[in-house]
Symmetry: C2
Subunit: 244 residues, 2 copies
DNA sequence: ATAATACATTTGTATATACATACTAACAAA
DNA sequence: TTTGTTAGTATGTATATACAAATGTATTAT
């Protein structure tokens, strides 16, 4: 594995180092809780200072990918299951492809609508101003398992003409410079009403995992208001949290 | 507010500083997204170096309590709602009391049982070895809204004679030195079967938020295996996640 | 053999320093 | 009024250095 840091790059060294380490510890050599080279060595290999290297390692420790012990070393956390990385922000498609699930889009509607009070106040806009509504029915090849309703702030620059089959946030980032940064979610359960039952091809009254998601950009400005209705037996939401 | 750091203490300076800042930003003066003093000043006030101070601030930023901006300053994150602190590990009673909800215990059974294969393998013990099972039906004064089944690793030292009305993890920490560190959770939805419906005083088939929780100590050793069945309309699970 | 000791290794803590970069505000020029 | 420039301020990046504390290993004494 090549470990090369570009000192002339605009990207900060500790970010580059973090990326390299992330790739390194996800490579097959480090699956089993192996020790990393010690900090002095690593800093020499990467040709950055120990202080800078520690910045990178700190982040990975905080993210739960590494653990350190005085007098011993830094090792890769074992059981790197999916949930162990759940701290990182992920879009629906990323989540699914990380699990190796192919996605099929069953329905996709885009429209400009007048938002209701709830949505308008979330975006901090007047009720008369239109927002982009995106409806998606997605799932596996065998059948749909989630119905999404998304609303986007007018300022994100979507026209409604984009290719909504591609990962949305990658596109937003590249085309409009919008970086989704924070996601607040509320998860609850409810019964399928007639509408949802029909969409998800499930009986009326079937249990549904309901997920409200509020997405903000780097300046805490609202970007997206998202409602997701998941077929209960097809989706498990995993979270990992850590003290301190 | 007193901001005093003890340079002779055994506690690392950056930890002391972090604690002080945590208290500071939770005080009434800082509720509204106010700017902190700048790093140079703060480091002078606390009589620690800027580098050390930055260690403390970094953690708080990572925890979502502060945000920093080049050329502007460091400010307390607004809307310090419950969910903004959801990264911190919380027990059920802590969660509820943080929301100002009084808890009532409707049922409480403690027993030593032979675990099934799933639980035994989670704890890494033989199926012949008994574990402590704790069943709790809890809720508001008006009625129960969650049914818990917990299993504890034999080595945590519980006898079954403890006072299970007190916060469990506080007790474990004080009495047995067990520090719960990591919690992995899986959240899904299901229909109430006859048993759950009766416990939660809800119709059979009603939607239930089902929460599996795996708790580990500081050494990643399993402590608790917990199943929680929440009445759908009474509980919302909130998560906040942040990129980078 | 076992226990105590000493040593080397590795991360943890703490500081000082220098310069880069993003933002604000004030002022000047068009 | 608007635009551009500049100075000041605050965080961001990066390094070098020194010592502390925990751990594991090898050595020595019993």
């Amino acid at each position: 594995m090549k470990l090369k840091i570009d000192h002339k790059s605009q990207v900060p060294l500790h970010i580059q180092a973090e990326e390299l380490l992330r790739r390194l510890i996800e490579s097959p050599e480090y699956t089993d809780g192996k020790l990393l080279p010690n900090e002095m060595e690593l800093s020499k290999i990467l040709s950055i200072s120990r202080s800078t290297l520690r910045q990178s390692i700190n982040k990975l420790v905080y993210d739960g990918l590494l653990t350190r012990k005085k007098g011993v070393g830094t090792k890769v956390v074992e059981s790197k299951s999916l949930s162990s990385k759940s701290k990182n922000w992920m879009s629906f498609s990323q989540e699914m492809s990380a699990r190796g699930i192919p996605i099929k889009n069953f329905e996709l509607h885009v429209s400009w609508i007048l938002p209701d009070k709830r949505i308008a106040s979330f975006f901090g806009i007047k009720e008369g101003k239109k927002v982009l509504k995106l409806v998606r029915l997605r799932g596996r090849p065998e059948g749909p398992f989630v119905y999404f309703e998304s609303y986007f702030h007018p300022l994100v620059g979507l026209t409604g003409e984009e290719d909504y089959k591609a990962p949305l946030y990658e596109m937003l980032e590249k085309a409009h410079g919008i970086i989704a940064m924070v996601s607040k979610e509320e998860i609850s359960a409810l019964s399928a009403d007639e509408f949802i039952a029909e969409k998800l091809e499930t009986p009326i009254g079937a249990p549904i995992l309901f997920r409200k998601r509020f997405v903000f950009d780097i300046n805490e400005k609202p970007i997206e208001y998202n409602l997701g209705y998941y077929k209960a037996d097809s989706f498990v939401y995993t979270v990992e949290s850590r003290r301190e």
